[in-house]
Every structure is written in structure tokens, then in C-alpha cells.
Subunit: 649 residues, 2 copies
Amino acid sequence: MTLQVLANPGTSSTLAPKVIPARSQAVVDIASSSAALLHPLGVSEVKLTDNFWAPRLKVNGTVSLPSQYRLLWDTGRIDNFLRAAGKKECDFQGIYFNDSDVYKWLEAASWELAAHPENDGLRNMVDEACAIIEDAQDANGYLNTYFSVDRVHERWTDFNAHEMYCAGHLFQAAAANYRSTGSTRLLNVALRFADYICDNIGPAEQSKMVKLCGHEEIKMSLVELYRITDEKRYLDQASFFLDRRGSNVLKSNNPAYFQDHQPYREFTEAVGHAVRMMYLECGAVDIYLENGDESIYQAALKHWDNVVSKKMYITGGLGARHEGESFGENYELPNDRAYAETCAAIGSIMWNFRLLQASGESRFADEMERALYNGFLSGYSLDGMEYFYVNPLSDDGAHRRQKWYGCACCPPNVARQLSSLPGYFASTSSNAIWLHLYASGNISESLSDGQIVAFTVATDYPYDGRVLLTIIEAPERLVSFKLRIPGWASKSTITVNGETPVTEVPGYADITRKFEAGDTIVLDLPMEIRRVVSHPFVETNNGRVALVRGPLVYCIEQADFNGVDVRSVALPVSATISAVTDASLLGGVTVLECSAVVNDWNPGDGALYATEQVKFDQKKTVHLRAIPYYAWANREAGPMTVWIPETND
Amino acid sequence: MTLQVLANPGTSSTLAPKVIPARSQAVVDIASSSAALLHPLGVSEVKLTDNFWAPRLKVNGTVSLPSQYRLLWDTGRIDNFLRAAGKKECDFQGIYFNDSDVYKWLEAASWELAAHPENDGLRNMVDEACAIIEDAQDANGYLNTYFSVDRVHERWTDFNAHEMYCAGHLFQAAAANYRSTGSTRLLNVALRFADYICDNIGPAEQSKMVKLCGHEEIKMSLVELYRITDEKRYLDQASFFLDRRGSNVLKSNNPAYFQDHQPYREFTEAVGHAVRMMYLECGAVDIYLENGDESIYQAALKHWDNVVSKKMYITGGLGARHEGESFGENYELPNDRAYAETCAAIGSIMWNFRLLQASGESRFADEMERALYNGFLSGYSLDGMEYFYVNPLSDDGAHRRQKWYGCACCPPNVARQLSSLPGYFASTSSNAIWLHLYASGNISESLSDGQIVAFTVATDYPYDGRVLLTIIEAPERLVSFKLRIPGWASKSTITVNGETPVTEVPGYADITRKFEAGDTIVLDLPMEIRRVVSHPFVETNNGRVALVRGPLVYCIEQADFNGVDVRSVALPVSATISAVTDASLLGGVTVLECSAVVNDWNPGDGALYATEQVKFDQKKTVHLRAIPYYAWANREAGPMTVWIPETND
């Protein structure tokens, strides 16, 4: 293969530092397309003060992010940049895509600075990292430390070497850094590399190299650069990458793994590596949000239907197989061998958030919330120091979080999701403010006419379903509050100033009126304990139920079962289950309690199979305590299960 | 690494052709060790005439084996030998261990010649293959076509290149060929290579290369060469390979995959690649059978306990994971993603057969029978032309047998198991004849004093439990018949000459008397239909039952369920199930029939999860027909499941 790297790139965008409006500090700062029904608020416009997320975000900003930065140094990831800059003599350290961990950390830290510009310690780390990265960039704009020094001539020779994946994370980090701080230092690094890619990779008719990346990521990041610069070439480049996927550019013998088996608009089933699939979906919807190409959106909906109705764990976890970290067949959802990578849950949150902006449909917010409180949050230890890569729904006790991983995609991705989380709470449409998630805090936003809507939220969500909004400031005209009624809430009520009943509707409840300071809206979401069952084709869950309350999926963990293996516990159909708040347990949780029975396996553990007559003795009862799934594996190691066998006893 | 290949091997065994006694045509021709309680009969000493196995063995000898030989040519496997011999100019074709497929076929064809020496067509193929193999051997005894021509200098550089695995299959083929035909042509090729290995590989103290093979196999084959030649160096070499395993000779970063994580005598759990584990176990027990080292036997029993009580499918299938074709954790037994490789079931049959010879304990015969009728036989299509590599216990209909595989270990292994099957039916101890398996046929055997015991067996086993033995010839003294009472048979009866009741004992019933020609023994094994349940820790099978009758595991297959997806079928606890023989179905089977209900998933297929209140509607009934598991996927493709949800309805 001949490298056709242009010595003098055509155009090179360079931006000067400026003050970014708070509204542009959005996770997805959608430009002016009509395809976007909603526009997200900026990360700094939503101040969380609640007991659930705020402490976690604080730990993330003060414990997790600094400790991760130390690990980036300790594991040679930053040395790799110094080496590329000629400032350090050493071998390349770690895995070939290790640059992406630095970028993801930078994006996470940048969002943290948007919410907490006073965090000077973190700002110093960010500035140091940006300078080191800038130094490592080639004069022509190329930047990848694995393909520096001794591997320059291997650039663009291996589609699965994650070159554009790393570039994409650089672009996202740069976008976040620019939006959060106004600094253009990292952004200009990104723009130079983006220009290099646009100049050198593209259609053969333009005498460019026809290249795609094995690991999707770059599309959504190019769209962000478009959103910042208004340079249409970035959006066009993202479209090129989307449109060529599925046309055998990769020449892989396992194209489905890379979502390269069919064009995006044609395939109907979630396949291959789950994180790659999610990042593909995010990029596709980002392109749709900007260019309004309905064929993209229709394909996304088909893929979404397949994921949600056939291939998603109740936790929102995605990826049934360890082989290839991938989706399995329809209804293939093993619990003990669930892969459900933390990064895939994050990808799902990002995807659903984008679909939500496109549509205003609460089903996407429901799935975002499901993944957020369960399959994502389980990836993060209560002390903010350890992470799961894999999130099984049952375990024998061997699976524990780790401080770091050789392939460390998850830890900085968790930090990124947390630091940017305020940006996922609310959006606006022309004259309305939409609340997708609920937590105590303050929200202040100027509407399209420049007038301010400011209000507080008070709630103990997700443990309590009462949400109180108090208006601080509102324009003197009609304004709509769109409050999400979660799909799981069967009988919610809404009152305004304690009086006006609003008729319940599925999806987003609409409260339109002239608001005044001091007006209150109370949303009451019933926190019933639900016994949830699975489609009968999910064979692992046959005869089992999961306990769910509000958005939280529960599990039973060995630490709560003195002497009885949790895998022997069966839940009687007749059991009455109570929700009990325990402020001292696991950082403060509401647990579910009832009396259950023990399936004593009469033939003894030496027998794997037995004729039915002799199977179970259910004479023994046990006190069942279920904890939120996200909190498992924070005590002594032991078996855990989400899906509990039900018994008619 | 320096190759220390001796130019002049020390000793070289060479044997002249001779007439082999029928008794020595045993699958495991145990020598004179006291560790063996039983000695198997030769393959030619058991003539099967039944309706179940005999037709399959005939298809194997007349259809499967000739077609496989053609495939060995068509896929370049035999060309590889011609190339190594300098008789053909071509690249090496296929996978690096493709020689083993030729050897396994040769072993299979050789056993077929033991049973059917009149099969001249097959004999010609065998002779042709032996001559081609002989030609390809190096002067120093080395033989592996992948490491010939351009890769000579890569020999012994990669422990996972299957060099000794291929050698082991050569040795087994040679042993079978010698025992079946008396020809020493292939045997002498094997002995030359075995001598080369003994001369060059061994303890460092003897200035030899310390090498083990990543894929176990060679140990049991070296023991067979010892059994034929009485050369103790072969047994010692096998012991060397066994004793060094687990001492990090392989230097793999995944030693458990290769059963190299701990010494054989120390580990307690079945781990890693299931076929390798089984072949390791066979080799270990073979060594024990010859040297009586009790520590080997005790370790084998520990491993067996773990397999049978924690890691075995009800079909006898082994290997829960596609990743690494490997065992999973205890109780990890997914049905749809079961690997349960046909070769692993064969390995289990071989292992249990060896343990049975060591002990005379029927539990080993039970597991041999379970694997034989279910997890093994499912690997073979009814027409003898197609094979399963993977044997799931439930499927959506996509899994179908194939005529051949790129990695073609299974097809010739199936042929080998079938052609040698008569050798698994019976053994003798000092004055007793032991029957392990039941099928109509004739058995004739001379006891240790040279006197003949000959008898016929008449039965419709496995579909009928009545077994009639008629004595043809017996010595004029006390002789014991040891008849296996399967573990699944709860109330068997035995009569002798229609009169004498023999008290039922677990394990092998002992009938000792002076027999005369015309005496009859009738064993009646009740063929009750059993609903079998799993240990509660096997989460996939919670709330499900498997239907089992005699040794046969049943399944339900879509072809029998008009318009109702088999995965929606639930079996009422109260259902009365009947066994119905259908001679026209699937080559003649007894099916199980009852009325069942349909779990209509009320929320519709678009919902993966639902609150329990709305889950199932069971108003619809359906006629349930279950077929033997081995016979599935011989009709139109469709879903199948072994484990059927049970309902209290």
C-alpha cells in the first residue's frame, strides 16, 4: 500500500481562545438542524446538589480523576507522548490504543472543569496533559504515539490499529476542553489532525486513501468539530465514514464484528463488538441531527428496536458474549457470562441521549436511565477507586472491581460519564424546558428569546418518587415544562402550586402556563416494587423474577445471607416485599426485604441432575434482603444474582 | 533455542508382521498390570446385529469412511504427505495439524477392518494411505508434514503447533492398524518416530529437549505402543509427559487452557480446552493401568467428580464455552451456547471406559453410555454424511451439521468411535465376563484358561429394556456373568432360565453358575420416562425439566410443533407422558408424547421484560412430541430445546 500523505494539507482550521457561553457546554451541542427537536443544556447549567449523584460526582472530580491521572503516568501512557515528542527515550508502553485513555481522561477532566472551574489541581493536570499532547503532534497534523518514532511507516496499514479511534477521542477531548475552558490549545491540535484526515482519507475519486477504522468513534467526534467550527468538511467526512461502512473496505473475514457486514441503513440486528456498535450508532445519529437524513434515523430506530426487544439486559447492559465483547443472538442473555461492558452501557446512554434530542420520545430517556442507574453505575465502586469492565448479572463471587486494566477503556469512560452527567438532565425546545432525569439541584437556562428560566429541583430520587420543582425566575409569558413520566411508573400524579391537576400522559407531561417565582410543580412517581419477568425465549431467566423499584434493578448478594447460598434462595409468589431505607448501608440505600425459602437440593451437591421426585426441599425459610444492583461487590466477595427463582410455595 | 536432534537415534524398534489374536484387537489392550481389574474384549469379538448400532456401523464403514477418505484427498491433507515425500510440488494446505485427520481416519478405518476384514475397498484405501505416510517420514524418524520442506527448522519451536498431538494420532492409528490387520508397515513408521521422540525429548539431565505438547494426546498413544512392543521406554516417556505437566514447561500466559496450571495430581477442577483435558485424562489412566501409580488414579477420581457433579451436560457433553472450546466455572452450563464438542464427548467415552477397566465400577459405564447415546451420537447425521462439531442443548434453528470442517477433528473421530464401538461393549476379569452396553449380537471369548464362553444377546435397547442372553458355549465350571444395571434403572429384574431370581444390586449384577448351551438370562430394565431436574446453581435450567427414557435424553424440535415455537412450550406438572414407537420416523425412534401448554407472552415480542402480572397466557394447549436428542436437526431447520419449562397448570 502506498501512503498518499499530502505534505501541505489544503486547509487548516485554527481558532483563537474565547469565552464559551454556558449553553455551548453541552455534551452534544447540536447546531441548527431541524432534525433536532431538543437541544441539551450545558453541563454547567445543571447544578446537582442531591444525595445520590452529587457525592459521586464529587468523588469523581476529587478522587477518581486525580488518581487516574497518576495511573496514566505510572503506566507509561503519558510517557508515550513524551517519547513521540522526542523528549523521552523509551519503548512504546502498553497497548497500541493507549493514547485513547489519555484523551478520554482529558475529556472527563474537562467536563469536570465545566462544572467545577474552581478545581485548580485538576486544571493543572489538564493543562500539563494538553501541552504534552501538543508537543507530540507531527508537523503535518498526524498524531498517534504508537505510530511514532519506529512505526511511522506503518501508519494506515492496519484498519484495526485504532488510529481513527484514538483520533476521535482526541477530538472529543478537544471539544470538551474548548467548551469547558475556552482554551483552543487542544482544539487546534485536534483541528490540525482532523484536517490531515480530511485531506488524506476519503473517496478514491478524490485521490485519497479509502480507509475506515475497525473501532468506531471518529464519526461523532468529527460532528462535534463541525458543531464548533461550522466547517462542513468535518460533517462530510463523518458521512463518508458512515456511508462506506458495510462496503467491505475493511476486508475483514469477520465483518460483523466491526459492523461492516452490511451498510448501516440496511442491517436490522445489533451485531459484533457492543461498544463499537454503540459508537457507530452515536455517530450515525449525530450526523442525522445535523443533516436531517431520515434514512439514517429510520435505520437507527430499527437497530434500537432490536437491541431493546432482543439483546439488552434488564440492567441496560449490552454484549452477551465474552468472545469478541459482542452481542449474541436474539434472546441470548446469559447472566453469569454476561459481558455487559461498562463502556457499552455508556455508549447506550450516549446513543439514547442523542435519539432523545432527535425525537423528544421518552422511551429513549427510559433506556438512558436504565443503563445509567444499573449497567453503567455498577462499573464504579462506592469509593470511586475501582471499576468493573464486565458486569455480569449473576456471579459465584470471583468477579471483583479493579483499580485499572491493561485495556483501560472503562475507568476514564466512567469518569467522563460522571463529569458530563449534568449535561444529560435537561434540554430545551422552542419554548419548553424538558427534564429527562431527576435529582435535587438548580437549573438555569435562557430560552431562545434570551429570557431566563431558573428553578430548583428537590427529590430523593431514585429512592423516592416525589419531585418538587420551585420556580426561581420565569419570563412573563407562557412557558412549558416537559416532565418525563418514566415508562416504569404506572400511576404518576402532577400538581401545580398544590392545586391544579395535570392529566397524566405517557411520555413527557406538558405543563404550560405563565410561571412566577415561587410556583411549585410536584411530580409523584409511585415507587412500587415490581417483579419483572423475561420473554420466555430468554432461557436463563425462565421461572425467575428480577426485583425492580423505580429505575433501580435489585440483586441479592451473599453478604446478606448468613450461611445460605444466595443461589439456593427462591422467592415465593405470595411473599410481601417491603422497601426499607438503610442510611448506613452501602452509602445509603433502600433495600427490599421479605421472607423467602431455601431450595435445598436433596440429592446433594455431588449430583448435578436428579429425577424430579427428589429435587427440592423448601422447608427452610430465609430472610431475603435485596440491594441495588449498582452497589454489589462493595462488601466481602460472594455469589450474587439479579434473577431470583420464583416458587409457588 | 538450540535443537538437539540426535543424528543416530539410540534404539529403534522394528516389528515384523504377524497374526494378531482377536483378543488383542482391543481398544485398550491392557498389559499385565494389576491395576486393571477388567480387560476389554477385542473389537472383532463382539458382533453387533442390532437395529440401533449395526446399521450405523454399516453406514460408517460403507458411506462415511469412504467419503471421508475422498475429502482427505480433496482438501489437500494427503497432498501434504506427498509434498513432504518430495512427490508433489505445492504449498502446505490447510491447518498445521491436518496430519492428525489422516491418522484419525486411518485408525477409524483400521478398526473397521477388524470388524469387517472383507471390506476390500476400504483396505485398499488404508494400504494406500499407509504407503504415502511411510514415504513422508524423515530418515531420522521425524514425521509432520507441516514442519517439512520449508519449515524444517521450525520444528519444536512452538509448543502449540500440535507436533506431538499429530504424532500421538499416528501412533494410535498404527496401533489400531497393527491390531486389526497384523501389518507392521504403519507401526514401524510410528515406532521410528516414537524412538526419535524418546531419544530427543526428555529430562534436561539426560541432555534432552524438555518439551510438552500444547494439545494432549501422545501419552495414551505411547502407552499403546508400550502395550504392543513391551518397550518400557514408551511408558516412561508417557510418564515423563504426565509428570512434567503443570511445571510451567509451556510458559503459556494461559496455562489452565492447556491443563498446565498445576501438576496433574494436584488440581481438582476440570479446566481449559475440554478435548485436551479429556485426552490428558485418558493418558493418565492409561499410565495408571500399566504402572499402578495410585496417586494418578486418585487425581483422576477427583477430576471425574468435578466433571460429573459440576461441569457436564445431561447429554454427557463437555465444554460450556465457545471461548477456548473450554470448560466453564462450576455449574456454568448454558444450553444455547453449549460448546459440547463431539470430540470432547468421545474423549469422555474413552476416559470413562479406561476408568471402568481400572475399577469395574458401573458409574463409569453410566457416564460412558450417557455420552455415547447423546452428546456423541448427536454429532452424526442419520445418513452418515454430516457432523456436528458443537452440540448445543437448545438452538434457534441456525445450527446444522456439516459435511466437513476446516478444523476437521470431529468427522474422523466420529468414524473412529463408531468403528471401534464393539470394543466398548464387554470386558473380562479372571473368571467373569462383564457386559457394559446392551445391543443384539454375538460375543465369543476365551477365558484365561483358554476355555470359550459364547453367547448371543437379543434386545431392542435403547428403546426397550428387555435383554435376553442365550448361552451358545460355556466351560464346564463356574462362570460369572456381570451385567450392568444402569444407574438410571430403578427397578430392574433378572431371571435365569425363566426361573431363578437374582437379587438386584446396584452396579453390576453377578450371575455365577455352571452354564450350559441354551441357558438364558433375561435382564429387564424398566424404561420409565423420567423428568429430570438440575442442581439449582445451573441457572439456565431453573424451572425446566429434561425428559429422559432409558439412556436417551429427549428434546423437542420445531418440526413437530405446527405453528407453535417450541421455545414457548411448557410442560404441565400433571401431564401424563406416553412412549410411542414410530418406525418410520428418524430411522425408527420411540417418541414421547403428551398434552402441553403454550406460554403466550402477552406483552408481545417487542417487550423483552414485563411486570409479572402480564406475563403469560397459558390458555392454548399443544400436542408435545419429544424425540431423542441424538436425532435432532435431521429434518427441516427450526428451534430445539432439551430443557422444557415446567408449569403448575
